[in-house]
């Protein structure tokens, strides 16, 4: 296994640990992306993020991968800090693998964490906006009870 691959595997494993223990074998083991959307999204996003952080830093690819994973964690049962904590797990993964985290990567990880928080807030705000929108529709439909048309 290449060094990068080994680090990604460790990273994925650490992030998986934030889910209930009984669910881990499934999240880890099921390879079909449609049967296991959560496990698949985690693996896919973290692989891209690790590749970019340790490589070219393609902003767009980072934004997309980050969005996929944050969007998911923003609706799961996590508080804000738990939802974005996975970014820092990369550091631990590298150390566990036996490497040192180079300074340049250190600052990239910090930057990613900040970006993750922005995405998280964006998702939460969107959820509230969607909810308000549904409430508004309900009110409009309730008005049609009085004989108004849609």
């Amino acid at each position: 296994m290449s060094a990068d691959r080994a680090i990604v595997e460790r990273w994925v494993e650490r992030v998986l640990q934030s889910y209930p223990a009984q669910t881990l074998p499934f999240l880890r083991g099921e390879q079909d992306p449609f049967r296991n959307p959560v496990g698949h999204t985690l693996r896919e996003s973290l692989t891209i993020l690790a590749g970019e952080l340790m490589g070219k830093m393609d902003r767009q690819r980072i934004a997309q991968a980050l969005d996929a994973i944050i969007r998911m964690r923003a609706v799961q049962d996590f508080g804000p800090s738990d939802a974005v904590r996975f970014v820092f797990d990369l550091r631990t993964a590298i150390r566990e693998w036996g490497g040192a985290v180079p300074d340049s990567l250190e600052s990239r990880i910090d930057e990613l964490a900040l970006l993750a928080f922005d995405h998280y807030m964006g998702c939460r705000e969107q959820i509230f906006a969607l909810r308000i929108n549904e409430l508004r529709l309900k009110a409009r439909y309730a008005a049609s009870e009085e004989g108004e048309t849609p």
Partner: protein
Amino acid sequence: MQETLIQIEPKPPRGDWRDPHVEFRKGSMCYSAAPKNLTYLGLPNPRVWQPTDSDWKLPPDWKKTILAGMKERLDKFRSFRLFMDVCVRCGACADKCHFYLGTADPKNMPVARAELIRSVYRRYFTLSGRIFGSLAGGRELTEDVIKEWYYYFYQCTQCRRCSVFCPYGIDTAEITLLGRELLTLIGCNINWVMEPVANCYRTGNHLGIQPHGFKDSIDFAADEASEITGLKIEMPINRKGAEILFVMPSADYFATPHYYTLLGYMMLFHEIGLDYTVSAYASEGGNFGSFASHELMKRLNAKIYDEAKRLGVKWILGGECGHMWRVLHQYMDTMNGPADFLEVPVSPVTGTVFENARSTRMVHICEFTADLIHHGKLRLDRGRNDHWNVTYHDSCNPARGMGLLEEPRYILNHVARRFHEMPENTIREQTFCCGSGAGLGTDENLEIRLRGGFPRANAVKYVKEKYGVNLLTCICAIDKATLPTLLEYWVPGVEVGGVHELVGNALVMTGEKERTTDLRGEALATESVLASGESEARHA
């Protein structure tokens, strides 16, 4: 040495599954039923309370009531006792529930959901459980268990996906319904089920729209259909002696994007000169009663046959509705039938006898329209849907509840040029639920809905990225109401529409004026849209 400011624990494994404690959080629970709705329906224990309260104000003899209720149902429904006894915990269903897949909460495995009630069954209704208690997998019935039931039975959309994979055919959706039914006995209901039930009972539809409001909505839509086509289109209401009674979900006449489907029905019926009527009394196909109890399901469902009898129609045609069809297919005949005052449905246009509806005397609009197309009775211009790149979501109830898989696809392939299926293990019998059915589709429960709808959205995202799909069609009112929110969050850029909306777009009507927009008022695609690299795609 790593310093941590906040100590963040990884998620604790939820220890012993027998521990019933659950935490109710805003955003991931449904509000309790308002007392006025329970009172209206004559249901027990109406009171003001919320799931987040520590005291649920249960009636003093609640435990006796639940156990007596269980006993009664174990005797009445053979399936219930069977489902309690035969599960071998093989786990085949475990990872098939969209709520489990989206939440990763082990108690959302269908087998665990059933175990919530099965453990109580073991403790009180089996010999080994009575003697050995928890050693035999039994569990005391406590208030916490009631709260846990509420939490998890209102985190199941009764979609039946799990039952497709169970070697014993255990239907967790049935178990959920029975669980909710037991909760109803002590007044633990959610408002988004009970308010629609009360309204349906009172005025015939779930928003409580009164007959004059119903007429206004229908007339308004008919005017709009007339304007689009340049023809004089009407939808008759309460017309005695019509050949066919048409029943649709009420959202079709008050909500969008359902409304465009209503326009589609109207145009189709006008073009073929159908002798039909709609009814203000049976103005709701959707059966919210089926989310709460067999009794309420029956009370609401009865209105359809009653009205068919009163109006003297020959048979019934039903619109794009989800649970109406599940109720019809599984229960209506024995519950409120036999409908021997009706005739076996025959299409007045093609002469086809709908043998499958020989006993219920009610035909699905997709069966009806597919038959028209099959006999070449409709002129269809597929190009009028070129601005849509379509996929199809099998709504759980028509797909798994009644096996309606081919007809909608047959229609779509005849009315649109670009159609792409989602991956095989996410459609047809294996379709993923929208995550908002069975009464859960309310705004206060949005986070649970977004989690439960993730597997569905994930498949939509795939076809969007791979084929450029921009319209998810479906034939269920709850889907149409809740999928737009879901997709806006997970897959922005994909809209939601009905099959008959696209029929209405493509239908070339006798004497119509030239169409420049679709039923939504959006400009039709020009030639160049299809020419830009996309060839005609049809996946049967």
